[in-house]
C-alpha cells in the first residue's frame, strides 16, 4: 500500500515541480496524472496494489471537493448578482456540448464505415 501511495505522491510532486520550474500553464496534478499514465503504459498494466489505493481514493472522490465548495459562503454576493447568467450558461453550454460531441463522433464513424450507413447497426460493439 505504501509503495503505491508513494508512487502517486511522487507523480504529483514531479508534476508540480515541472509546472513550477518551466512555468507551464496546466495544473501540476494533471501532469502527475499523465506521468502515472505513462508509467502504466510502460508497465503494461495496473499493479493490484496500486489499483486498490487508486480505487479507494477515487471511490470517494466527490467527498474531496466538499471543503472547497463550502467556500462559496464567502461569495454569496457574487452568486446573487450572477446566478441567472451562470444558470443559462450551464444549461445551454452543456446541451450544446453533448449535441456537438455526439454529432462529431457519429459523423466520423459513418465516414469510416466500410459499408453504406444504412446497413450499419449502430449500438453494435464490433470494431469498425
Amino acid at each position: 500500500m505504501l509503495n503505491s501511495l508513494t508512487l502517486i505522491f511522487f507523480c504529483q510532486l514531479m508534476g508540480e515541480l515541472t509546472v513550477t520550474a518551466f512555468g507551464l500553464s496546466l495544473p501540476g496534478p494533471v501532469l502527475g496524472m499523465m506521468l502515472l499514465f505513462a508509467v502504466l503504459l510502460w508497465r503494461g498494466g495496473v499493479p493490484r496494489e496500486l489499483a486498490q489505493v487508486g480505487d479507494a481514493l477515487l471511490s470517494n472522490l466527490s467527498l474531496l471537493f466538499v471543503p472547497a465548495g463550502v467556500g462559496i459562503m464567502a461569495h454569496f454576493g457574487l452568486l446573487r448578482h450572477d446566478w441567472f447568467p451562470l444558470s443559462v450558461a450551464i444549461l445551454c453550454s452543456t446541451l450544446a456540448t453533448i449535441a456537438v460531441t455526439s454529432g462529431t463522433m457519429v459523423a466520423i464513424n459513418r465516414l469510416q464505415a466500410p459499408r453504406p450507413a444504412g446497413t450499419r447497426d449502430s449500438g453494435d460493439e464490433s470494431d469498425g
Binding site: 495544473p27 501540476g28 496524472m33 481514493l57 465548495g69 467556500g71 448578482h81 463522433m105 449502430s122
Partner: protein, 239 residues
Amino acid sequence: MADFRDVWVYLSATPLLHLTLTLMAFQAGNWLYRRSGLNPILNPVLVAILILISVLMVTGTKYETYFAGAQFVHFLLGPATVALAIPLYRQFAHVRRSAAAILASLLVGSVTAATSAVGIAWIMGADRLSVISIAPKSVTAPVAMGLAKQLGGLPSLTAILVILTGIVGAMVGPLLLNLLRVRDWQARGFAIGIASHGIGTARALQVNEVAGAFSGLAMGLNAIATSILLPLAWKLVFG
C-alpha cells in the same frame, strides 16, 4: 463536568471537529441520495455543502476556521487527480480502436464546452470572476478547481458550477440524445462524459456498460485536453 462553552472552545480549536463534520455531512448527503433512488438532483456534494454552510452560519464560524480542519480532506484532491490515470488506462484500449473519431470529438467537445460557457456568461453580463470560474465547468471537479485557480477564478464557485453541470448533463443529456436520435452507445457515453464528467459518467454506467466506459474515457481525456488548451487559449485571448 466541564461547562459546555469550555468544551466548544476546545473542540473548535482542533481540526478534528470540522473534519468530522465534513465527513458526517457527506454521509448524510449520501444517505439521502441513496434513499432517493440515486436521483441526480439530490447530489451528495451539494447536500453536504448546504448542511455545512448552515451549520457554520448558525454557529457563527468563519470559513477559514472550518477550512483549517477540512483541509486534510481537501489535500487529497491532488493525489486523487493523479489516480485518475488508473481508470483512464483501463479504458484506453477503446482509444486505439477508434482513434480518429475519439480525438476529433474530444477536441470539438472540449472547445465547445469552454467557449460556449464563457461566451454566454460574458454576453449576459456576468462578473469577470464568474466568467473565469465557469470556463472549466465540464471538467472533473479536482482538475477544474486547479484550472480555476490557475486562471485567477474562484475554485469554490467552480466546484459548484461543475456539480451543477454534471447534474444537468446527467438529467437532460439522455433526453437530448434521444431527441437527436443518437443510438450509438459509444457516441452517447462519450458526449455525456465530455459535457458532464463524473456525474454524467455515473448516470451512463447505470444505463449501459459501453456508454459508461466511453463516458469515463471522455472524462479523463477532457481533463487533459482542457488543462492544456484552456490556459493557452486564455493567455492568447485575455493575456
